[in-house]
């Protein structure tokens, strides 16, 4: 199994070893060991739930510092549509884009522009009717990772198109190279991201061999800098806006679906809801939809862990800024360009599998059933595993021992105490003279 990179890191000093993240993790990927939270790398899907729940702020998302810009001769900002929903009383997206230029970027390529291309390509692919229905959106990297480890049968339903930010980076790099004559390695395409999972998607891409994105910076880092530059009227006066309502709508849940101009869709957001929809899809319980949009974060990308604003307020603001824009400004033309498609198939990673040998796996499964019955069934997580079943599985996999269960330990101590009591009276009394007063 290949090594997994993740965009979540632990601050050992801040971690108290409590079980908040262990219980919240939707893929049971966290255990507390030796008093600190540990991520089981192969199970983590980078959804960011542990970052949100940690009361001690010990779970930190990984992203690049703004100084990543200094590594390139020419930089292109790739602002996510969710960025537009972070500001108060804003009606004109141009102000945001100019602020990015004033901050030091040489050019701007809106991710929403690429999103409109992806929407157009999706509409084409849906009308061609070649893809197995329903088609599942592949834009959310946490969802793609979840499908890859837990829903192997649904991999073939994933829309085989690159996510908008990847398309944006590829096009931006090409445009910048033509404009400046610089070699691609001197051009830095920097994503202004709401999402930590996108960092993983750049370092360990799915659906392609190498990402064209050179850096991922957090909206929350860029935000205070941008505010300084966002005074109306300041700036070059040049116009940068090149996307419409459809592209910007991608920033919140339902936006990608609405851009398909097809009513037969469903859009679910929040990782628990996403898992329920995937379970039902797997059992073929959703017969009549053509497209399924899934976003791991509540509210969609506006709910990402690197944002500043409350996701639902950001959603309302996003609606405001796109109100007077054209519907869509970008189309793919006749065919779908090759660089928009997956250039590598997504492979199943059977992380739940107990053993490669079915006979051994079955034996282990029986052991898990047997061992889990010894435990209290309270799923208290005091052992550091999220449930009694998970501890049983850890025991069978050799990662822990049944004694990690505090109830088993208590029973053991109780029976030791009982045995000691039974012995009372049988043990010869201590001679009085030896007593120390």
């Amino acid at each position: 199994m290949s090594e997994f990179f993740h965009s979540v890191t632990l601050d050992q000093d801040l971690c108290h070893g409590c079980i908040n993240c262990v219980k919240r993790c939707p893929t049971e990927a966290i255990r507390v060991r030796d008093g600190k939270a540990k991520i089981l790398s192969d199970r983590c899907i980078d959804c960011g739930e542990c970052i949100r729940i940690c009361p001690h702020h010990a779970k930190k998302p990984i992203f690049d510092p703004l100084s990543v810009m200094d590594q390139y001769k020419y930089t292109v900002a790739l602002p996510a549509p969710s960025l537009y929903g972070q500001f108060n009383n804003l009606d004109d997206v141009e102000i945001i884009l100019r602020a990015l230029i004033d901050m030091g970027f040489d050019a701007v390529f809106e991710v929403s522009r690429a999103a409109e291309l992806v929407s157009d390509a999706t509409r084409k692919m849906l009308s061609e009717g070649q893809l197995p229905r329903p088609v599942i959106s592949s834009a959310c990297p946490a969802v793609v990772r979840l499908v890859r480890v837990r829903f192997p049968d649904l991999i073939q339903h994933l829309l085989p198109l690159q996510a908008p930010v990847e398309v944006a980076a590829r096009l931006a790099k090409k445009e910048a190279a033509e404009r400046t004559g610089l070699p691609p390695e001197k051009i830095g395409c920097i994503f202004i991201s709401p999402c930590a999972a996108k960092v993983t998607a750049v370092k360990m891409p799915l659906g392609t061999i190498k990402s064209a994105i050179d850096g991922v910076v957090a909206i929350r880092d860029v935000y205070p800098q941008m505010l300084r530059y966002m005074k109306e009227g300041v700036g070059s006066g040049e116009e940068y806006l090149s996307s419409g309502r459809m592209g910007i709508g991608w920033g919140s849940s339902g936006g990608e679906s609405a851009a398909l101009l097809n009513d037969r869709y469903l859009a679910a957001d929040g990782i628990e809801n996403v898992i329920r929809v995937l379970e039902d899809l797997e059992d073929e319980k959703l017969g009549s939809v053509d497209f399924v949009e899934l976003n791991a974060c509540s509210g969609g990308c506006v709910g990402g862990v690197l944002t500043v604003e409350n996701p639902y307020i950001a959603k309302a603001k996003l609606k405001r800024v796109r109100k007077y824009l054209p519907v869509s400004c970008n189309r793919v033309g006749d065919g779908i360009p090759r660089q928009m498609k997956f250039d590598q198939e997504i492979q199943y990673e059977p992380v739940l599998q107990l053993d490669e040998d079915i006979t051994v796996a079955l034996r282990k499964l029986s052991q898990i059933e047997e061992i889990s019955h010894q435990f209290s069934g309270l799923d208290c997580a005091a052992c550091g595993a999220p449930s009694c079943k998970a501890l049983a599985e850890d025991v069978v996999r050799g990662y822990n021992t049944p004694d990690a269960c505090v109830f088993l330990l208590k029973n053991k101590m109780q029976s030791l105490a009982n045995a000691a009591c039974e012995q009372e009276g049988k043990i010869p009394a201590v001679p009085l003279g030896d007593r120390r007063e």
Partner: protein
């Protein structure tokens, strides 16, 4: 004796919110065992159909699942009204489901036909007024063309 593991589920009647619990439990176990995705899907769909049938028609029942390296065998037993004409019930689109059940999107007459479609072997034994037992087997090494 070959390795095997068994699961037992009691399916409550008339509770649609819980229908599917047994099949998703088995689905998870099969992923842990590491069976091929299409085999898991066949088991999950067939079992879910059976579970829903129990809830709609029979007021619940019991499911026993045996997993061996070679096959997944599901025995679904209920004490419901029984099926008068099994061959009629096996026809696609034939249904006795009441309107309130149909309005929930169930009862399209595809239950038994789908169960047969997704399994390698299926037998239905039924006595009117006594109950129905459906036995289904999915082999882990495909012995026929995949259902698409």
């Amino acid at each position: 004796m070959s390795q095997a593991i068994s699961f037992h589920y009691d399916v409550p009647g008339d509770d649609f919110t819980r229908a599917g619990e047994a099949s998703s439990g088995v689905k998870k176990a099969l992923k842990q065992v590491g069976l091929a995705p299409d085999i898991i899907r066949n088991v999950a769909i067939a079992m879910y159909e059976g579970e829903i049938n129990m809830v709609i028609h029979a007021g619940g029942g019991q499911i026993d699942v045996d997993i061996t390296p070679d096959a997944v065998r599901m025995v679904l037993k209920d004490q419901g009204p029984g099926i008068k004409d099994i061959s009629l019930a096996m026809q696609e689109g034939w249904s006795t489901a009441p309107d309130d059940v149909r309005s929930l999107g169930f009862g399209a007459g595809m239950g038994l036909p789908n169960m047969k479609k997704y399994t390698d072997e299926m037998t239905v034994e039924s006595t009117v007024g006594v109950g129905t037992t459906v036995t289904m087997t999915v082999f882990t090494h495909p012995q026929r063309e995949a259902v698409s």
